[in-house]
Every structure is written in C-alpha cells, then in structure tokens.
Symmetry: C2
Subunit: 288 residues, 2 copies
C-alpha cells in the first residue's frame, strides 16, 4: 500500500503555499518531513489526510483517490497541534470513540503507554497540560490500526525524559507492527537516527527527497585557513560557511573534487542532519 | 552584583511547588535551570523577578530585598511564555515602551537582530506567529540594559535555523557586554555548550547546583555483558540502566571504584548533559 502525491498545489488568498508537490510514501518506512517555519509542512499533511483540499493535483493510495474515500482515510491518522477533543471528555472515553471511528484500537498498548507516561485515563482532556495533551494524542496515534501515521511536531511541550520515552516507544511499536510514519519536527537531531528518508520543503517546493544515509554521505565541512579553504572548495556546491578569526569552515553538499589534492592545513569532516538542513534552507544555501 | 535566594517556599492551594530553595546567582555567568515539566522552574523565575510572592524565604540583591524595590527590579528582565503585550501595538513602539520602563534600550542592536531574524518592526504584535513572538521577546531581552536576564523556554516555536542564530547572538552579546543569563529549557543538549553552571530542580527542591564541567566529569556509562557490568558497578551510584539483548549499560553519577580492575569486556564512556539529566530525574535515579 503506497501513497502518491501528484502535482499538488495550494494557495490561500494570493499566497501560494504549495507548488506542484510530487512524492511517494512507501509501506513500512519512517520519513522525516523537514522545513522552516511557514514552509508548508502542515498544509501538506492536511492535504494528505483530506482535511483541506488542494487547488490542483491529487493524492492517491494504490491508484485510488483519497478525497472523501472513508475506506482509505480510515487507514491514516494525522496527529496535529490542533486539539480536536472536547475539554470535558474523559481520556478513556476518547479512546473508545477512536475505536468506533477507526474500527479498532489497541487497548492493552494504550494502557501500557498511559502507565509508562504516568497519565491517568480517567482525567478529562481539559485538565491536561500542553505536554500531556501531546502525550495523549501520541497514545491515540500509536494505538490505532492504521497503515500511515502522520505526526506534526509530536514533541510539543515534552520534557527530555518524555521525549526519550516517546522515541523508544515509537521504535518498539514500529518493530512489532511495521507501518509508515511521517514525522514533521524542528528537533531534527533528535529524530535523525530514527528516520530513513527525508523530504525537505522550502518555500512550498520539495527541495530534497532522499535517503538520510545517502544525503549525509554527500555532506562535508571543510575547515582550515580561509584562503586555502576557499580555494579548495572553488567550484564545489558550498551551501554555507562560518568564520572564526582567520579560520573558516565551508559547508559542501555534493561531490568533492577527487582530482584536487587536499592541502595539509585543511580538514574534512561530516555534517549532522540538523546542520545540513540549516545550511540547505538558509538564504545562502538557497541561492545554489 | 549578586542575587541570593534564601529558603524560598511556595504553595498553591494544598500543593507545595517550591520547598526551601537556596541558591546564588553570580555576576556575568550563564546558568541553566533544568527540571521536568511541573518541577517548579517557572514559579522560581517568577519569584526571582517579584511577579509572584513566596510563602516564605527571601530574594535579595547584594543584601537588599528585591520585593517591590523598583531600582533592583529594573536590573532584571524575565522573558516568559506569557504574552504581556497588546496585540494592536507595533513592535517598534513596544521597543520604545521598554526603553521608558528600563531607562535604556539598545536600538542599534535591536535593529541588527530584527534584520538578522527578518522581523519587520512595523508589524503589530498580534500579527506574529508563535515563533516570531518568541523572537520579538528575545530581542527585547537582549537589548535592555539589565544585569540579570531570565529566559523561560526561549526557543518555543523556533525552527532549527532560528535556534542556531539565537544561540550565536546570545553568545556574541554576552561576550561584548557580559551579564548574567539564566536559561530554563527542555532542549538541554542544544544549550549544553553555552551554560557554565546548572541548577536542576526536581519536585520543588534543588537536586543539583554544580558547574557543568564538574558534573559531566563524574558522569559515566558502563557498557558490556549484563552480569559483568552489574558486578563492576556494584556499590556505585547507578542512576539508570538500559539493556540491549545480553548487553547492558549502567549510568553512574559519582566516583568510580579506582581499586577495582576494569574487566576487558567492559567499556567506560562519558554521558552528555541531557542523558545525565534524564537519568537523574527519572524515578529510578530519584530513589538514589
């Protein structure tokens, strides 16, 4: 079961939010959806799950249109910042409502997660702090029998202990019961080890659609004396640079020049995913 | 100029939020204030800046009580999640209002920061997204002529590029014009290189009051076969553990046993600050 997004565009008023987006979501993979604030990530997730409609293009699952198709929409769940729940409703009743809407719900797993996060399911939704509202929505997302789980900024308000617990539970749940996750977050380094494939959206367009390993294998930091570094990286795809006195670091994304000799004073090291993202989506990186 | 907190306690209703807190803030240092959700960090910052009153204890600056003392309160600024600004007010007018309240404001630096973050000071506060509200409040915090700047979760809603820019600007500003910063955040690893001294609050009490370097110098991960690891760490201060099949990692905070020989199958490595925090404040760590 595969989701395909073809030429999806969306505008609000005069503002073009998404511009002819194309991508595919394969079964049983963990994707990262990365982008600056306002890049269009949430809009794309809302279109994927038919909460809002594109101005052009289509979303299909194995060739069938998703729009207003309850059978297909029942195979996906979007956890978003918006709180869809009645404040006076008890969490345990909201679990049962989710079962009715999706034709199933893993009660035992939800109970395990409530215990692990120390969340009492007898509480009402309105009694929860920001962090515990996030936790409650994560528990629903992980307990539904869907094939595609979309998580829009899933760690809002979580402290470091709860974030670590969530990452661990997500991986456990994924290995026991593989399905597709799409995680949209600004905390890139924290999810970098979890995601296999990354989409970077910038200014409404897909800037990167690549496996994380493949991406990082082409990401270098070249450091050394300013002039030597600039001369060594001349003609390469330099997406950013930093200076410290006379020393300079140039960030390169793409192939190095194999025929050029590496000067003794120059060092080549790897970039992490967050640093690569920052330089790819900065103005300097964009010009490339 | 030094701030001293003596035996500060606070309860709301029947709930004891802070229990006899004692600490000192020295001039020109960068502190981290860490704690789980609900530990009492924001309450402490509000008491320090006289926004709420303790049930017992005192806050003094060089021996003088801070409570209702405008001269001393003018030397501190608390940037918090609460939005104190009129939605219809223009940012540039709010800058001028801050100047009137604090007797000074670095217009040139605020302009530099507006440019760097691409924030138009002609906008009204109500027009800003969550991320840009945070940025606006950070610009005020960095441009006021105060000796103590308290930042309560300063990166709320910021994407990775804006977080990196903020960390860089804070360090630049600090080196040009040293003063004391207290940063309260859940994104511990991102600030770990910036902070010199850390307070960990757990359950309303100060659990750790220590220099970051000194803390990390006593934090170890002991990994290897489960039984060997347990036998080697017997009697040490084990604050947590993780298992992977037959392998185990025990987290130790405190001295290792110098007289015990390290088995060949056992490896000793360092913990980062976020990991140390997680294990210190978990239930397992708490029992110690």
């Amino acid at each position: 079961m595969k989701i395909k997004v073809d030429d999806v565009s969306k505008q609000f008023g005069h503002k073009q939010i998404l511009k002819e987006i194309n991508l595919e979501l394969e079964p049983n993979r963990i994707y990262g959806l990365l982008g600056r604030n306002g890049a269009g990530k949430s809009t794309l997730l809302n279109i994927l799950t038919d909460r809002i409609f594109p101005n052009g293009g289509s979303v299909t699952m194995d060739g069938e249109a998703v729009h207003e198709n309850d059978k297909l929409l029942g195979k996906m769940y979007l956890m978003s910042e918006v709180n869809l729940y009645q404040k006076r409703a008890r969490l345990q009743d909201l679990f049962q409502a989710s079962r009715l809407m999706y034709g199933g719900f893993d009660d035992a797993y939800a109970k395990h997660l409530c215990d692990a996060f120390e969340l009492n399911p007898k509480l009402k939704f309105g009694q929860l702090s920001t962090g515990y509202r996030t936790i409650f929505k994560l528990i629903i997302a992980l307990s539904l029998p869907v094939d595609f789980v979309f998580l829009d900024e899933p760690i809002l308000g979580l402290d470091a202990n709860h974030r670590e617990l969530f990452y661990k539970e997500l991986l456990d749940s994924y290995s026991q019961h593989p399905r597709t996750f799409v995680i949209s977050t600004h905390m890139i380094e924290e999810v970098a080890n979890m995601i296999e494939h990354v989409f970077v959206i910038e200014d409404g367009k897909i800037l990167v659609d690549d496996d994380v390993d493949h991406m990082l294998a082409q990401a270098y930091v070249i450091t050394g004396p300013g002039e030597t570094v600039d001369s060594y990286t001349e003609g390469l795809n330099v997406i950013g640079s930093e200076s410290l006195g006379n020393l300079k670091g140039n960030y390169v994304f793409g192939k190095l020049n194999d025929t050029r000799e590496i000067p003794d004073t120059v060092q080549i090291s790897r970039m992490d995913l967050q640093k690569l993202f920052i330089h790819l989506t900065s103005e300097e990186g964009q010009a490339k």
